[in-house]
Structure formats: C-alpha cells, structure tokens
Amino acid sequence: MSQATHSDVREDGVIESVSGPVVTATGLSARMNDVVYVGSEGLMGEIIEIEGDLTTIQVYEETSDVAPGEPVESTGAPLSVDLGPGILDNIYDGVQRPLEGLEEKMDSAFLDRGVDAPGIDIEKTWEFTPTVEDGDEVAAGDIVGTVPETESIEHKVMVPPDYDGGEVVDAKKGNFTVDETVVELDNGEEITMHQEWPVRQARPAGDKETPTDPLVTGQRILDGLFPVAKGGTAAIPGPFGSGKTVTQHQLAKWADADIVVYVGCGERGNEMTEVIEDFPELDDPKTGKPLMSRTSLIANTSNMPVAARESSVYTGITIAEYYRDMGYDVALMADSTSRWAEALREISSRLEEMPGEEGYPAYLGARLSEFYERAGYYQNSNGTEGSVTVVGAVSPPGGDFSEPVTQNTLRIVKTFWALDADLAERRHFPAINWDESYSLYRDQLDPWFTDAVADDWPEIRQWVIDTLDEESELQEIVQLVGQDALPADQQLTLEVARYIREAYLQQNALHDVDTYCEPAKTYRMMEAIKTLNDEAFDALDAGVPVDEITDIDAAPRLNRIGTTEGYEAFIEEIEADIAEELRGMYQ
C-alpha cells in the first residue's frame, strides 16, 4: 500500500459504531473509496458509503477491541498500489503490504494489526539507465529508462499516465532510490521509478486488439483442446479438491508469459507457502531463470481479514496492467474469485443492502465483468505491445455450476475449463471435463499452431474431439449391454478413446517430466494415437478380429509417453511397432 499518502492525513472523524469489518464514523469529510486510518491503532480501511454525516468504512484488519469514540483519519487518497522495481520476486497481502517486511517489523510468525509498510522498498537503490536524451519529447506512458529488476526481467520506467509530458531536460544514469528523480521535463515534471495508481481504476491503455497468440501452458488438454489466448480470459470452476489450485499453479509455473501475478484470494495458507518454497527452486522453461524472478504473489488467505480479500484481486490486476504497459505479456491467476464475491456479499450484508440472488449484491455481475474487462491484448501508446491474461478459479457451493458467481463469470470469459468431481475421484488429472469445457479462441489461435507446430494441428485436434464425442455416445450403450455386445468397429473406437483419455488427456502435475508438455509433444502424442487408430482400422478391414487388435503389446506403451523425456525417438518406436504388429496379422 502507498506509504506516501500516510503522512498526508487531512481530516479527523470519530467512530460511531463497530460491527466486524464494518465501521461507521461521523464528522469525517472524505471521498468515496478514500483510504482512512481507523481507531487508536490506526487500522487501515476504505470508505465504501457516505450517507449524510455518516461514513461507512470497510476495515482491512481485525477490529476486536476497537470502540466508538476513537478517531478516524482520512488520507484523502484512494486505495492505491506502489508501482516500481521490487514488485517481482515479492509476496504481498491484499493491500500490497510486503509479507516479509511485516514478518520483520512484527517480529512474529503471526500477523499483527496496525502495521504498515510500503509496497516497494523505498530505501533500496536500483541501477537506472535512461533510454531518452536531453531534448527528446516524451508523453505519458512513454518509456524513459530501464532497470534490471530481477535476473529475467528488465523493468521499464515510464512517464506516469497522469503527467502532461514534454521535453527531457535532464536524464540521469546511475544508482537511485525509487523516489529520487531520474528524468526531468521542461515543464517541471519529475519522473522517478515510483508510481502510484488507484487499484479500482483501470490504468489507461492504448487500443485493445484481437489476440492471436495462445498462452502456451504446457498442459496438453489446455493447449491441445481448449487454448486460452494471450490477453484472453478463462474460468476454472470446480468443487473442492477437483484441481483448481493445482491447475493455476501449473499455469503460474509453465505458461509462457513474461510476468505472472498470482492472487491467492481467501484460500489456504499452505498453498501460498508451497509457491514461496517451490518457485525459487524451479526454472522458467523459456528463460532458464528461477520462476520467482518473473512472479509477484498476493496472498490474502482465508483467515486474513475479509475486506482485504476483496481488494486483493484489484491489487493484483493493477500490478498486471503496469507490466503490460511496459510491453510484457502478463498472466494473472486469481484463486478463488468466489471468495472475493463472498467478501462482497459479507460487506454488502453488513451494509444492509438489498440482497440479490443467493444473498450476493445486485452489482456482483457488474464487478466481475469490470474485473475481467481489464484483461486484453493491447497496442500500448509507447509503441510496445502487452497483454494481461486473466484466469479465475471459481468455487461453486456444492459443486453446482448454476450458482450466481459461476453463471456471471461464464457470461464474460471466453475459455471455460470445467472441473469434474467424478474424474478427480478416479484420479483422472487434470480433472477437466472435455464435454463441458470450451474455448472460443480456438479458431483465432489456429494460425499460430499451424505455423509454430504443425500444418494439420486443427484437423488432428478435431479428430480427437470427434473420437471423444463418439466415445461418450457409445458409453451410454455400454452401460446397458456391456462392451462385448458392440460391433467390432465401435469396440475399436472405445479402445482408441481410452488411450486418448489415459495417455493424452491425463497429465501428472507431480511428475518431473509429465508436468510440462511442449506443444510439439502434445501434437506428436495426438498423432501417435491417431496412428494406432488408423492401423487398427486397417487391420479390422483386413479381417483381423478385434480382440487380437486390442491385445497388441505396443499400444500400452502410449501411456508412458507423457513421462518419457526424450519422447521423439520413443514415439517413433511405438508407431513403428504398432504398424509392424498389426500389419503382421494380415499381410
């Protein structure tokens, strides 16, 4: 959270009432959404309603012991984040307080209240190299210099969006703290490496364009069947234990984004700890650098104050937009958007607002679409291109997708990965239901795949989808009469579909090799199963009995491709063996 504003306290009011995270105050002249400090301990809060002399505040910290009569101070500024070098390789709470800084300041493993810390280190010096010279004209958003922020990311220092811009009169080079001026303009505007931006307001951006590149995730079922675009939106709903978090972690690890912002919104503490422990040890497959150096984490776990849960997704998306403005492809994971929606509901009910469906406020849909609308692929005003991809987990009560958060989300997002308790129960992971899931980006991304992977990518993918469709129809009959009662060709289709499910769709996130599957491997796996299919049907046509065909030794090895490292030779061998075995039966 912005420290600079703290000193700027303007108005005093007095607490009128306290009920959980909601506090009212009188005598406070303040604007909607301004940040206030509440009570004698100075707990951070935000103004969410003004009615006559009464101001309602949601407090981002525990309010035990806070009493009427205690003071309230307004900062006169809306809830903002600090933007500048130092955001990556960092972990924040929902209002951008650095958790490591808090641990140090509080000298405890437990989170205390009333302690504030700036979002970026204001004492640390960074090496600034200007990219402009005296006499250059710069406008808001333009890049004026660079800073090596982490091993893998070069931070671009930009003219803040609310500056007028002008002619550069001084561009310094050397080591500076984030608040020291590095570039001066003729109109007196001074540019530092530190900006602030109100979280609830989208950062101004250039033109939104139609995304054409996939966010390559290294997950076969996603890249192969239900791809999401860079700059696109995806939702991943599912009951508890179905794999939302594992999938989001997989994306955070392996997706080919430049920057990853991971928002743990109202979920488990240990899941954040896992990321903190694992990511520094893992390398980004694209750059070979530690994953943490491209990652920023926001952790508002389920037992942290509920109001800060509400703000955590905004903190995250504002950070994502900031790196987009530098020309980076950013992927934002929010786990889980349902907890954010529930925080809205909880605050709304304390305000005694008129409840909408299932107690959620009537503006739930509007808030969700505002949020996802901040995703996109942009032509930035500074000439770079950048994107924000948003992937939101949804946790529907009872696993029932007809509930308001899932439904409102589905109206907005263009990729839908439906998790299925039944698949998870039989440990078919990722438990993404291929019948229910969809991606509306498929067609627009096909040119990329045909270009980068294989000409017939769309055709072979369609073959996979058709085979799975046919399988589900046949399964209905099998449920009634058993598989042996089906005609031979249909039995064969079931066998092929089984390999699609077991060898191709299943992917073990916990296996060192299987955890990441490059598109070329994804393609070769589809091809290998197609080879089995084609050879098997040739054999059937030539009169070989179906039992013999399905009994060949080479086929079960398809199941081991995922976990095999040097897959090319392995797949070629399997394909050759399948052909040899089957042709040997009739040639």
Binding site: V18, G241, N270, T273, L480
Partner: protein, 471 residues
Amino acid sequence: MKEYQTITEVSGPLVFVETDEPVGYDEIVEIETGDGEIRRGQVLESTSDHVAIQVFESTQGIDRECSVRFLGETMKMPVTEDLLGRVLDGTGQPIDDGPDIVPDERQDIVGKAINPVSREYPREFIQTGISAIDGMNTLVRGQKLPLFSGSGLPHNELALQIARQAEVPEEEEEGEESEFAVVFAAMGITAEEANEFMDDFERTGALERSVVFMNLADDPAVERTITPRLALTTAEYLAFEKGYHVLTIMTNMTNYCEALREIGAAREEVPGRRGYPGYMYTDLAGLYERAGRIEGVEGSITQIPILTMPSDDDTHPIPDLTGYITEGQIYVNRDLNSQGVRPPINVLPSLSRLMDEGIGEGLTREDHGDVSDQMFAAYAEGEDLRDLVNIVGREALSERDNKYLDFADRFESEFVDQGYNTDRTIDQTLDIAWDLLSDLPKEELNRIGEEYIEENYGDEETETSPEATAD
C-alpha cells in the same frame, strides 16, 4: 469498569444494552442476574449509545434489572503446560476437581493469522497404521484432515484409532521421541459419546498428555462457538511456544455450525445457503487455518475435525465449506459400514492434498505414489463395473473386467477392512497393495514405473485369497 442496568431488549441469545461510554467490539461482558448468577457474553456490535451482546450461556432469566459489566478486554484463554491432563468445560473452566490452574499467559482466543511467509510446508509423514489412510490418503504433521461422516457411523472409533496409533516412524527409529499432545474439543456431543472418548483416553493413558474441552449436547449452544477457539489457543501455545506436536480433534463441527446458524437467525441476518450465515466460510477458516507448522519452531498442530453430514450429503454447506478449507477429507461410508468393513473408509472421494509431498523415497517408500495412483484407478474401475454386473451379469463381462471386479472386492475386504485394533506399518500396507495389484495383468499397471513393477509384481498366482478366484 462501568456497570449498567440499561438492558433494552433480550432476543434469543442476544441482549441489547444502552451505554454512555464507548465499549470495544468483541469485548467480554458479564451479566449478573437477580439471583447473583453470572452469565458471560461478547460484544457483537458496538455503537456510541448501545451495544449488542451475544450471551454464551442461556439468556433465560435475564431481565431489564440485570447489571451488565464490560470487562474492557476480549476473550482470553489462560494457558500453561499444566493444562495437560485436565478436563475443562466448553468455556474453559475446570470440571475435573483438579487444582486451580495457574496460567503462564492469557492469550486472545481469536488467533492471529499465521503469516504465509512464516509457515513451513508440512511434509512429515504420520503413520496412522490404517491402510486406507496411510496408503491412499496420507496424513502429514500440520495437516487439517477432517472426517466426513454421518450420524450413527463409527467416526469416533476411527478418530480414536488415529489418536492411539499415530506415530512418526522416522523419529521412532532415531529414538528422538518428540513431545506429543492431544487437544480434544467436544461441541454438543452426547454424554455417551464423550464417555467413549474419555474411557479410551484413560485406558490408554493418553489423558495425561491431553487437554479436554467438553461442551455437551445439553450445554448452551452459543457456548459452542467459543469452545474450539479455546482449544486451538491452547493447542497453539503447546505447539508453537512449548514445542509439542499437537493432535487436535474437534467434534462435532456440525453442532458448531448449527450454533452459528442459531446466532445468525437471532441477529436477523440475511441468511446464506440453507439458512447458514454467509460468513460461515470465513468463520470456519478462522478455525481450520490454525493448523500447521511454523518455520524454525519445533511443534505442530494437526487437526482432525469430525463432522456428520446431514442426510449423508456432502454438498450440504457444512461439509462443502469445510472441504473448501481443509487439506483433504476422509469419508466414512454407510454402505461399507453395513458390509462390516472396519474402518468403513471410502477412499475414492477421500483425499489428502498434502500426501504428495509427504511420501516417496526417504519418507515412506519410493513406489508409494505410483502404487496409490494405480490402486485408485483400479478400484474406481471395479466400482463402476459393479453397476454393470447388476444389469448384464458377470458372464457378459470380459476377462479383464472380471479381474477388476475381483480387485474391488479384495480391496475392500483385505486392504480397507483391518479392524480398529490392527496397526499396520507403511511397508505392510504397501505389500498388501502389491499383492492385490499382482492379480491384474502387468500391462494394466500403467501408472507404475517399470522398475517398481519389476521389483514388486508377484508373478505367480500363488497366495491369492479365496475370494479372488472368480467364476
């Protein structure tokens, strides 16, 4: 400390009082009735001229003349190592005729959140001696793993078996016995159930290293909302300040949630799903997230909450919200119970999310992960086929299908059904698993590394049990 006689309204567990001095939110209140009896409560809402109080005990007998005292502090639990071996009521008062408790510290019962950067990811395997748990849904130190049960099912037997048998084999070997303690929080259970636990604790000597909090079915419901917080505050003290490995059993969470609903209704809140408060997720998370480990600290808190699913329905808000917070769940199943499987654990919907990090080479055995994956897949397949058999009969099924049917039967009768007094090592558990898997054709074991198959697959059809020979 100001005293008021200004009660304006009494409604269910709530009392409203006019005040002229500020009262802190969450503060503790004493209300003295006409006959000198003291009731305690907590401030739910505080404004400049009145306060809403939630009374822990019953509000019966409270009238306008009662005097109300605000104690100026939030609810605290007096903690000390001397609590070990003691039995307290649901509000933390001793009920065992023992000596007065001299507290070492008084701690706030609303625990603070553990900073995620200070946590240590739990990875230490706990051997419960129960195959369905150790083999398939492994428990680790610092995990929160609830039992999802139904009324009339033997969840207490299971919880007690875990409490009795739980050990960390590595430490046993190295002889570095760590201090182990049990914190038991009963919420609205019957006296009979309570005795079941107490008798077992006494019989096994576990009581000496236990702290017991008892809120029974006939104790006030509202009191139940503080019982687990007192228990967890005690657990935190023992674990994080005194270095104990604390196993916390909380039963029955269903009663706890009912109490929350009752308070919500009395406050005329907008109810969430099925009448439970909209903030129940947050409230439960405030309890369950108090499990875990902290970097650089010896002790740990492992939680086994028990809940009974109304109508055995796991989409009911109580199990549903619990499952969304805890690190997995163990299902106690009615059908298996009536088949006589003990413990009647249905492994398929059960899950331990911390299993992956807690097993494998150096922790349990290198083949553990693959074996359990394969067992899940095979049992799920056999289970599916049972429906089909009912329609078409066994003869209509292929040889492969019949093998899976046999596997499912053996899985239940040999792997899961072990009785409440059998304590199996992880090696024994995995060996039984291999014995079962060896009934399936080798090629079917596609989730297991070839090197493990080589080593463990029993080729000869020798020691198969009688039920395994189908047709």
